[in-house]
Amino acid sequence: MNATAATPTVPTVPGALARAVSDIAVITRRNLLFTLRLPQVLVLSSIMPVIFIVMFTYVFGGAIQGALPPAAAGRYVNWLIPGLLAQFALFGGSGTASGLAEDLAKGAIDRFRSLPMAGAAVLAGRTLSDLARSAVTLTLMLAVGYGIGFRPQTSLGGLLGALAVGLLFGYAWSWVMALVGLAVRSAEAVQAATYLVVFPLAFTSSVFVPAQTMPGWLQPFAANQPVTVATNALRGLVLGQGALPPGRTVAGQVALALVWAAAMIAVFAPLAVHTYRRTVR
């Protein structure tokens, strides 16, 4: 054997954990620097949620108002904002796919994979930096919503809780999209796929209108699909029990949203890491 000069020591378990945390931090920082130095991207991706808030509030708000539960305090914007937070948390998580596809195309993944770094750090760093971006987007949405009349009917704690549940839900989705990005490999295709998946899911959920107003055949799906669950959880936290459909409790919907998030991470994070370890440009 010829393991002479500078044989790297095999890291101990706590050592390996510290390395993994450090690697994740390094990658997260790298991705966030990209965002800071390309502010156009952040600005452009913030315009769409703002347009949604304004357009739905003023264009559809009048028509939908009558179908709202009293907990919305007679304002469509109160009903809409929690739903849109859930929708754009999903959108933010979708950014993970195009970011990874781009890294793959540029050879960055090959480089990272040839380095003695933690295997999951590239994906963990990517999902975390996308989470940070989502946090900025969602905060901006709250500010814009507040500007046009959105008022939480519960408490500040409820509002922050809603933000946390929304972000966690988006973060879990980010792992689903990590797998998609590594498998599809094209940032453009991924973007198209994102619209194809997220918009239909959002429109067949309770984001914009109560699921009970939808046709009977659609209701079982609309009332139980994950975006509705997340929306109900956020809405319950922000508007109180009265905003939820009959038979649903705030605690129940929050717990269910967290179970969905945990299940997405439990299934897709290992799959994504497994795929990452086999991905070459």
Partner: protein
């Protein structure tokens, strides 16, 4: 044998699909510590697949590969700590500065922040990019990016530096800069494994060369040894297309060594064991056969000839896409339009 820094035995990699491709087909290779080891082969020969297996990016289907005695399959993480890879595309981040790029890779090699930053600064100085250290890489030229990519590979003090076509697409001046840099590294004790399509590059840099084709080792040795295997001088003739067949049959009967029809470049290549006398004799015969060559050259064999002799085709074919794959063997022929071949 124990001094082998890279040892590859019976390596096989098959890519599936309707028509499976044996990218590596029982490749054996031994590379000793120190110096530049050139890996030559036409497109699709298996060079990049070999690089990917050696750098732990791709698992082989059979056979083994060891770097400094460590098996790439069994201990990939240990192999990664010993190598530095510069792939075909400078994998540097556009929106980070030069310094940040190298520091980032240093951190991922496990250096503490301060140490990573210091080492990044040293490396940028070494590659002559100190002045551009705090500029975002998107403002860099192609040559600067390549040098930065190389610096990023060096930050972990690898024992083996793997360069996959490091100068593809660079202009001649940047290419020479990079060669000088690689030369310095080797003097510092780093072992370099380099793939290239530029024969001039292999000739200039490599101490030893392995020619691979169809996933197998075709020949291996120093550049001079390889050239010697092809023989002495060569005579190159360009004749009008209509006379080509006649010229070939005339030259066939002239001596023991047969001419080669290099269709890609529209030339006939004839071994010239007797140098100028072979030239005179060939011209006389052609004249007698009524063939007037358009161009005649007597020259030493190049690695390109080695390639042609070993693999049956030129190292590079003028396909039009990708960087101009032209080596030194061509410099004196540039009056010939490229792609004259059909």
């Amino acid at each position: 044998m124990d001094d082998a820094i890279i040892k590859v035995e019976g390596l096989v990699k098959v890519f599936g699909g309707k028509v499976p491709v044996r990218a590596l087909d029982g490749l054996d290779l031994t590379m000793e510590r120190g110096g530049v080891y050139g890996l030559l082969g036409p497109n699709g020969a298996g060079k990049t697949t070999l690089i990917r297996v050696l750098t732990t990016l791709l698992p082989a289907d059979a056979g083994s590969a060891r770097i400094t005695g460590v098996d790439v399959r069994q201990h990939p993480e240990q192999v990664r700590a010993r190598i530095g890879l510069a792939g075909q595309y400078a994998a540097v981040d556009d929106h980070l500065t030069g310094l940040e790029n190298v520091e980032l890779v240093g951190r991922l090699y496990g250096l503490p922040r301060r140490q990573a930053r210091r080492r990044a600064g040293e490396l940028l100085e070494r590659i002559g990019l100190t002045a551009a250290a705090d500029r975002q890489v998107k403002t860099y030229s192609g040559g600067m990016r390549r040098r930065l990519d190389l610096a990023a590979c060096l930050v972990g003090r690898p024992q083996v530096l793997v360069l996959d076509e490091p100068t593809a697409g660079l202009d001649p001046a940047s290419r020479r800069d990079l060669w000088a840099l690689v030369g310095d590294l080797v003097e510092g004790g780093t072992t370099v494994l380099l793939t290239t399509q530029y024969l001039e590059e292999a000739d200039q840099l490599a101490h030893r060369i392995a020619v691979i084709d169809h996933g197998r080792l075709v020949s291996e040795g120093t550049p001079d040894q390889l050239k010697d295997r092809v023989g002495g001088a060569v005579l190159e003739l360009t004749v009008p297309d209509d006379d080509r067949a006649r010229a070939l049959s005339t030259l066939h009967t002239m001596q023991a060594e047969d001419p080669t029809d290099d269709q890609h470049r529209g030339r006939i290549v004839l071994p010239a064991p007797d140098g100028a006398r072979t030239l005179t004799q060939a011209l006389r015969r052609l004249d007698a056969a009524g063939v007037t060559p358009e161009d005649v050259a007597l020259r030493k064999p190049t690695l390109d000839d080695v390639f042609l002799a070993l693999t049956g085709h030129r190292a590079t074919t003028p396909t039009g896409n990708g960087p101009r794959p032209r080596g030194g063997a061509d410099r004196h022929r540039q009056q010939q339009p490229e792609g004259a071949a059909r």
